[in-house]
């Protein structure tokens, strides 16, 4: 959508303003100059295949951030959820070559205005994204001359920009250069005041270095600004011989070694000068571009404009400056191809760089950039004019001379930042410089200024080729007060153009270890959701046969004593616990209330029914009034079954309410138990049949737990037994507490039954306990019917386990003595 000619759309807020206004009536942003409409612009522009992208730092950063997503090269609106787990996986899986392909294809797109904006774009961006997009869009704005309008965030960016050994001199160049006639006006009027104010945000070490430089200014040999100009201009505007940079590769390693572990020491790293050269093609113009390529003919992958990248990262305003000069900055640089080209398996970046959005796993849009609250509305700190090549060449020649005079001492005199101090590499690099004699000015510039993390980011040829400056210069403003002028800055059409919303990657910056953990977690979660097909077990397998053999032999061992009608095994001796339990029951009189807790499942009836029945038999003999209760739902039914079984097996006639009653089920686990222990009448006021429980004569005197003459807990679960011990302990008084439990529960209750401070009066367990108790009461029911079968079955199990264990031990020893033999063979 192009704004109507009557109205001018504000580049800042995007609102329409009357054409006569020079500043936006809404946000007071400057509305002029304008630039060509897109249609006219297309006519004047270079052929599409060489037209560079206007993407600045944010573009490529966003492209890198998109790298992790498979939808990077597609413009369809995909789900760009912030599921960082997915992104992590995608990021690991993506190949550098794929990235290259996407990169090339994207560069090759003829009508790419802001290619990264198209990636994963959505139709309706979120508000936050709109803010960010506005920020990026402001690259197209003309540079502002009002220094005081610089927002704080830009100053902060400059501060971080100044942290770089490369950028610091550039900043100073921006500050110091206005007085130099050869420099272009845009450069000369660059935000000196703003930069001065931004010094407050500079780190200490930078300020120190700056003070040191200012001190050096007094030296007559060379002015700092001249030196800094040498650091930039000779390189950028006059390509140097390739061999001139070779020696500096080693020197630059002191930076690289710290951050970037190279696989091969001899890897031909891109020289910093190459990067820097390639970064300044716009300054040298089209003619210079050919020299650039001559001086450092990079392969296609190396043509990445590293210093542009750096400048864009730390001083986005420079992008504007370049646009102001009609240049189109190369975009879509990527670290990934560089990593591949230099053989870097991974790049370990310094913390400060990570903080600025470059993660270990790829470059991302830095947080500070994403969270920038205001659009860019200031001029670039550095503008390199292409309109005065002669002046630039002059500066270059002068500075080269001065540089040669200054020599290495000045570099050494420069205070190094804190983060470089104490590293042996810095000293080593200086020694290398000394070894090679006095280096050329370009070399010194690179050594002192270009950080190593830029090294792998090399210029891309296709981008370099696309820089055509004359065409931008040839633009003629068709409308507005600047109508007829060439090279006016683009503004309104860029804003007004409809664009696909961008999808911004808000990936977390995570370490490799965190990634590994995340991967593991993700894998676990995914596997949890998968239905794992059970391995199809063969119908006839050794395990099957063994299991069937055990079952069949056990069946026979149990059956045999039942068929044979004579006693086959010895009678177990009377145990102390059985004797103690029988004595307690013996002390009961007829009608004494006894609480019996039946808290076991139906499956355990085979064991516990027999044991509890023997106790019930004794209780019925004594004529005790049995009060049944349970904390497991089916316990109430089991209690009724027990009474019936005892009546049947021992010829009793115990009837409900006359001799016993069933209070039913206490829900609530420990809470229910506690409630029953504290207030049995209120907790279970009715029987399970719905009659009033406590109005029965036998229970008339029972108001609390201790009023029962004995409490017998029959359970198979150790936790239920423990709950009864814990919850009723304080309410028992002198009432004996007997536990009739399954054999599996006995070991966990032994500590409670031990002298000298037992919490359980008697612990009777298992079928053996039942047989023993029967001995105390003179009964032989269990012994006659089951004990022999139980014993023979037990003996068979012991034999099987013994044989199997011995066989497996022998097999294990055999395997241990036979190396190479598989552990799974040759045993049961």
């Amino acid at each position: 959508m192009v704004a109507e000619m009557d109205d001018v759309r504000c580049p800042m807020c995007g609102r329409l303003n009357p054409a006569h206004l020079e500043v936006c009536q809404y946000c007071e942003a400057r509305l002029k100059p304008l630039r060509l409409s897109p249609e006219e612009q297309e006519e004047n522009e270079a052929p599409e295949e060489i037209r560079p992208d206007t993407g600045g730092v944010t573009d490529w950063l966003r492209s890198l951030a998109q790298e992790g997503e498979e939808a990077a090269s597609r413009s369809t609106s995909e789900d760009d959820s912030l599921d960082w787990l997915k992104e992590l996986k995608g990021e690991q899986e993506i190949e550098a070559e794929d990235f290259f392909e996407r990169l090339d294809s994207t560069i090759g797109e003829p009508d790419t205005q802001d290619w990264s904006d198209r990636i994963g774009g959505r139709e309706e961006p979120l508000d936050e994204e709109r803010k960010i997009e506005n920020l990026f869009d402001e690259r197209a704005l003309p540079p502002r001359e009002e220094d005081e309008t610089q927002p704080e965030w830009l100053l902060e960016m400059r501060a971080s920009y100044a942290e770089s050994p490369l950028e610091a001199p550039i900043e100073e160049e921006c500050e110091e250069s206005p007085g130099e006639p050869p420099l272009p006006q845009a450069f000369a009027t660059e935000d000196a005041a703003a930069l001065q104010s931004a010094e407050a945000a500079y780190p200490d070490w930078y300020l120190d270095s700056k003070e040191a430089k200012e001190a050096e200014e007094e030296q007559p040999s060379i002015a700092p600004e001249d030196e800094e100009a040498k650091h930039i201009l000779p390189i950028t505007e006059q390509p140097l011989p390739e061999e001139g940079f070779e020696g500096r590769e080693e020197e630059a390693e002191w930076v690289l070694e710290e951050w970037i572990p190279y696989e091969e020491e001899g890897t031909a790293e891109p020289s910093l000068s190459e990067e820097f050269q390639a970064s300044q093609p716009q300054a040298s113009g089209a003619v210079e571009e050919s020299k650039l390529e001559e001086a450092s003919p990079p392969p296609l992958e190396e043509v990445f404009d590293a210093s542009t990248l750096a400048e864009d990262v730390f001083a986005p305003g420079e992008g504007e400056a370049k646009q102001a000069t009609g240049e189109e900055l190369p975009s879509e640089p990527s670290a990934a191809p560089e990593v591949e080209q230099t053989g870097l398996p991974s790049i370990e970046l310094p913390d400060w760089l990570l903080d600025s959005g470059v993660s270990e796993n790829g470059l991302e849009v830095p947080d500070w950039l994403l969270s920038a609250p205001q659009p860019l509305d200031v001029a670039a700190p550095l503008e390199l004019s292409v309109e005065e090549p002669e002046a630039v060449a002059k500066i270059e020649a002068e500075e080269r001379e001065e540089f040669l005079e200054a020599g290495l001492s000045e570099i050494e005199a420069q205070p190094s930042p804190d983060w470089l101090e104490g590293t042996g590499e810095g000293v080593q690099a200086e020694q290398l410089l000394e070894k090679e004699g006095l280096p050329g000015p370009e070399e010194r510039l690179e050594q002192a200024e270009i950080p190593a993390w830029l090294k792998p980011m090399q210029p891309i040829e296709s981008v370099t080729k696309g820089i055509v400056i004359e065409e931008d210069d040839a633009r003629v403003e068709p409308a507005g007060p600047l109508a007829g002028l060439k090279g006016v800055l683009p503004a309104e059409p860029e804003i007004a153009l409809p664009r696909e919303p961008s999808a911004y990657n808000l990936k977390l910056q995570v370490t490799e270890r965190q990634q590994a953990h995340a991967q593991t977690l993700k894998k676990l979660i995914e596997e949890e959701g998968l239905v794992k097909p059970l391995p199809q077990e063969a119908f006839v397998s050794p395990q099957h046969i063994l299991r069937l053999f055990i079952a069949f032999s056990l069946f026979l061992a149990i059956l045999f004593p039942m068929v044979m009608s004579f006693p086959m095994v010895e009678r177990p001796p009377l145990s102390e616990s059985a004797l103690a339990a029988s004595q307690i029951v013996n002390r009961l009189s007829e009608g004494d209330p006894v609480l019996v807790v039946v808290d076991y499942q139906a499956g355990y009836a085979g064991e516990l029914d027999a044991v509890v029945s023997s106790v019930f038999d004794h209780l019925m003999i004594r004529g005790a009034f049995i009060t049944l209760v349970s904390t497991s739902p089916l316990g109430a039914l089991q209690a009724e079954r027990l009474i019936a079984t005892t009546n049947r097996n021992y010829q009793h006639d115990y009837r409900r309410e006359a001799h016993y009653l069933n209070l039913g089920y206490i829900p609530g686990g420990t809470a229910g138990l506690r409630s029953f222990a504290e207030q049995p009448r209120l907790t279970l006021p009715l029987t399970i049949e719905g009659t009033m429980a406590w109005s029965i004569q036998a229970l008339a005197s029972v108001n609390q737990l201790s009023d029962f003459r004995a409490i017998i807990v029959a359970t198979e679960a150790s936790e239920i037994a423990r709950a009864w011990i814990e919850q009723t302990q304080a309410h028992l008084g002198a009432t004996p507490l007997l536990f009739v439990v399954g054999a599996q529960t006995q070991p966990s209750l032994l500590p409670y039954a031990q002298q000298p401070l037992p919490q359980i009066t008697v612990l009777l367990s298992g079928l053996s306990g039942g047989v023993s108790y029967e001995q105390a009461t003179g009964r032989t029911k269990i012994y006659d019917n089951r004990w022999a079968s139980f014993s023979l079955g037990g003996i068979l199990i012991i034999s099987l386990i013994l044989i199997g264990s011995v066989a497996n031990l022998i097999a294990a020893l055999f395997r241990a003595n036979t190396p190479g033999k598989k552990a799974e063979g040759g045993s049961l």
Binding site: G672, T683, P747, N808
Partner: protein, 209 residues
């Protein structure tokens, strides 16, 4: 904000109810006694309602499987049928009625007892193969203890009794097993204490929020 308020409210309810009950274990404050007992009774009542809600959920899940003809829907139908039949018979006649006892004695007990019987075979099988998979000291100690305890728990055939086995089993149980079990019980108690206090103070909120 609403979420936080709800969380705080739930934590306060749990903490208050829990502390009122917990205090009763150590100090008998007359002012809190009735409240504590009411809380406990309410807990019993609400637990039974919760059980019914749980069973209703079980019914709902299986009914959905039947209605949508999912795999295993036939089993779900059998489950629902068993549940409804039991509900009708035991609910109408009462849980202690002969019909209810018939269901319990002739369906519930045989199935459960058979399952437990199967466990005997499986456990024996596992013990036989234990030293094959883990031939180390602890497995050896484990198997040896199991064998000795089992040997002491059964009676040998006439005239084949092994002397001192019963005494050895008794010593193992009374000394070694008891000490180990005591350590486990104290550990469980301390774990319960820590977990319970975390719940009472709202650090863990198993009730959501």
């Amino acid at each position: 904000m609403k979420h936080n308020l709800r969380t705080i409210l739930l934590a306060l309810i749990a903490g208050f109810a829990g502390l009122v009950v917990l205090v009763g274990y150590f100090i008998d404050i007359p002012l809190l006694t009735d409240l504590r007992r009411d809380f406990l009774r309410w807990g019993v009542l609400l637990s039974s309602v919760a059980i019914m809600v749980g069973v209703a959920n079980l019914f709902q899940v299986h009914w959905r499987r039947v209605r949508t003809r999912q795999p295993g829907g036939m089993y779900s139908f059998i489950l629902i049928l068993s549940m409804i039949v039991t509900l009708i018979i035991a609910g109408f006649f009462g849980p202690t009625a002969a019909s209810s006892q018939w269901i319990y004695n002739h369906i519930q007990v045989p199935i459960e007892a058979s399952l437990l019987s199967l466990l005997a075979v499986v456990l024996t099988y596992a013990a036989v193969r234990l030293l094959r998979h883990r031939p180390n000291l602890f497995s050896f100690v484990f198997v040896l203890t199991a064998l000795l305890v089992l040997l002491g728990a059964v009676s040998m055939p006439q005239g084949m009794s092994i002397p001192y086995v019963a005494d050895l089993r008794l010593w193992i149980e009374q000394i070694l097993v008891t000490s180990g079990a005591r350590g486990l019980l104290i550990g469980v108690g301390l774990g319960t204490l820590a977990t319970g206090l975390r719940v009472l103070f709202g650090v863990d909120r198993p009730y959501g929020g």
